[in-house]
């Protein structure tokens, strides 16, 4: 690894470099704090590699533009924050329905509404899951440091291609804005999943929406040999609208099952000292840094504290959480919202009553002390 591969960057820039590493060459976006640096770096970096950057008139058109570009065979992404992510929900639903690989970055800030534009928060976890109308499934990933931002961003592109679906990267203000070291891996060091293109020859009936045996759906670029239809309506295996009940049923189950049935493959996480932990912290994103700080501290003192850091938020790894928490006496979910991942953790574990929340919702980055206070409380030591 050469020196030139080491950088000192913001998380937003790490995300950009990773996207390029993963093969991105089209980005459309609209600035919004705290995600703006993603667009800014893209505008600088993309033309350097012959890729394209466009600042659209709003977030709605941004997500639409990347879907269009994905169909011509490119890897694409957009980035936004709360209000912009709300505006993207219709387009996101379209990408889900039409099975378009794309990556949407949401660098979370304080909500609801305009909220606290420059303050850290992790309040969009459930919106990422349920923000679009209708039944659907979604992949949402996150990370707590820039090296992980890099690898999880590459993962996001890989999963988008593998499952032909939009993937959401849920970062937060702290991660997006903070600067730290990033080592860009050598090409090939992290595997990159390319667009799977159909092997069906020109003139032979190609089915854009017929899954292969392995579940994947090979694509054909717009402009290529196969002409088919793409629509947000319920459609048949050629992409044409249908309201035949069995076609409808088949498509909607497929959209959900292709993700739910692969939860194990999709799950990314890190664990620290879980083997013998009596108290397990569960966290993600920047909150996991504060959690890890406490864990390292307490372990030094011999306390049996561990950390499960989730990088895959959706589909939620219920099985993993259940398994890891089996023997824990206390489970503390550390996050910056009113307990969103907490809800999922409570569904996952056998003893929901053992799960408590260490959180902050006031726009201040959660501190190790905040967590310490909760630990004292559950250990019966008062405040």
């Amino acid at each position: 690894m050469t020196d030139g591969n080491i950088k000192f960057v913001q998380g937003n820039e790490a995300c950009v470099e990773a996207a390029l590493y993963a093969g991105l060459d089209f980005f459309a976006g609209y600035p919004i704090t705290p995600s703006t640096e993603v667009a800014e770096h893209m505008s600088y970096r993309l033309p350097q590699i012959g890729g394209k950057f466009i600042q659209m008139e709003d977030e709605i058109s941004s997500i639409c533009a990347i879907i269009g570009a994905s169909l011509t065979g490119h890897k694409v992404m957009t980035a936004t924050s709360g209000p912009g992510f709300s505006l993207m929900q219709e387009g996101l639903g379209y990408a889900i329905m039409a099975e378009i690989p794309c990556v949407i970055v949401n660098v979370m800030r304080g909500g609801p509404s305009t909220g606290l534009p420059t303050a850290p928060s992790q309040g969009d976890v459930y919106q990422a899951r349920w923000g679009a109308h209708g039944d659907h499934a979604i992949i949402a990933l996150t990370a707590s440091n820039h090296q992980d931002v890099f690898s999880i961003t590459v993962d996001a592109f890989n999963m988008a291609e593998t499952y032909r679906t939009p993937v959401i990267l849920l970062f937060d203000e702290v991660i997006g804005h903070m600067r730290e070291r990033l080592t860009i891996p050598e090409p090939g060091e992290i595997p990159v999943v390319g667009r799977l293109r159909t092997s069906v020859k020109a003139g032979i009936d190609y089915h854009p929406y017929l899954p292969r045996e392995d579940g994947r759906l090979p694509m054909s670029d717009f402009g290529g040999q196969h002409r088919y239809n793409v629509t947000g309506l319920v459609h048949d295996m050629w992409g044409f609208p249908s309201n035949n009940p069995s076609v409808v049923h088949g498509l909607l189950r497929h959209l959900v099952d292709k993700i739910k049935n692969n939860v194990d493959t999709i799950t990314r996480y890190k664990e620290y000292y879980l083997e013998d932990a009596r108290t397990i912290l569960i966290s993600y994103g920047s909150s996991a840094r504060s959690a890890l700080h406490i864990v390292e501290n307490r372990r030094a003192r011999g306390e049996r504290l561990g950390l499960l850091e989730l990088q895959t938020i959706w589909p939620f790894p219920y099985g993993l959480v259940e398994e890891k928490c089996e023997k824990a006496r206390h489970i503390v979910v550390v996050e910056m919202n009113m307990g969103q991942v907490l809800r999922a953790v409570k569904r996952a574990v056998h003893h929901p009553e053992r799960v408590v929340l260490a959180n902050r919702i006031d726009g201040v980055f959660i501190t190790p002390t905040d967590i310490k206070n909760i630990l004292r409380l559950i250990q019966g030591k008062g405040v």
């Binding site: 704090t33 420059t118 070291r181 840094r289 890890l292 700080h293 390292e296």
Partner: protein, 181 residues
């Protein structure tokens, strides 16, 4: 090494944040250390006091914010008033004597360096004020080698301006040396 926690504060145009980034970047890229830099964003950052936190260490840094800095730099009165209470007992508080009047006793070494004045007198360009300040910081703390700072500057700054910056950095280190005595 001991973990060094720094807070840089001042007003919008003073290059406080840039200085913080340069320092942390130098530590990471050329001194093989671990560092984080963060700052406060927001509309209020436009008018009032800006602040940037830097941690430099040789082990992983998880929590990246500084609650009690060893080194606190305040380049405006407003910044001083707002931030002096957070200095770690025994830490170093660096202020510019033109802009800041210390009006309180703190359990820290208060270093009043005439940075702005010296820069104006010796270089004449206010733009390198922040680099002079960096010189004071590394002069006092040795947290990063001055060469490493120069290497970062070389990457960032058009060749024509490099000399001026080098000069400012040295000026700062000189000022620090004087203080030390």
């Amino acid at each position: 090494m001991e973990r060094c926690r720094l807070v840089f504060s001042g007003s919008g145009g003073q290059g406080v944040i840039t200085a913080a980034i340069i320092l942390a970047e130098a530590a990471v890229l050329y001194d093989n250390l671990i560092a984080t830099q963060s700052q406060v964003y927001g509309p209020e950052a436009r008018g009032g006091a800006t602040r940037s936190d830097v941690i430099i260490a040789d082990t992983e840094i998880h929590y990246p914010k500084v609650t009690q800095p060893n080194v606190l730099v305040c380049l405006t009165q407003e910044a001083y008033t707002k931030f002096y209470p957070i200095i770690r007992p025994g830490g170093t508080l660096i202020i510019d004597s033109r802009f800041v009047k210390t009006y309180t006793k703190v359990d820290a070494q208060q270093v009043q360096a005439p940075m702005y004045q010296t820069v104006m007198e010796r270089i004449g360009k206010p733009i390198v004020f922040n680099i002079c300040m960096l010189g004071v910081v590394i002069g006092l703390t040795q947290v990063v080698a001055s060469d490493s700072i120069l290497k970062v500057l070389e990457k960032r700054i058009p060749a024509g301006f490099l000399d001026m910056n080098r000069q400012a950095l040295e000026l700062g280190m000189e000022l620090a040396a004087q203080v030390k005595v």
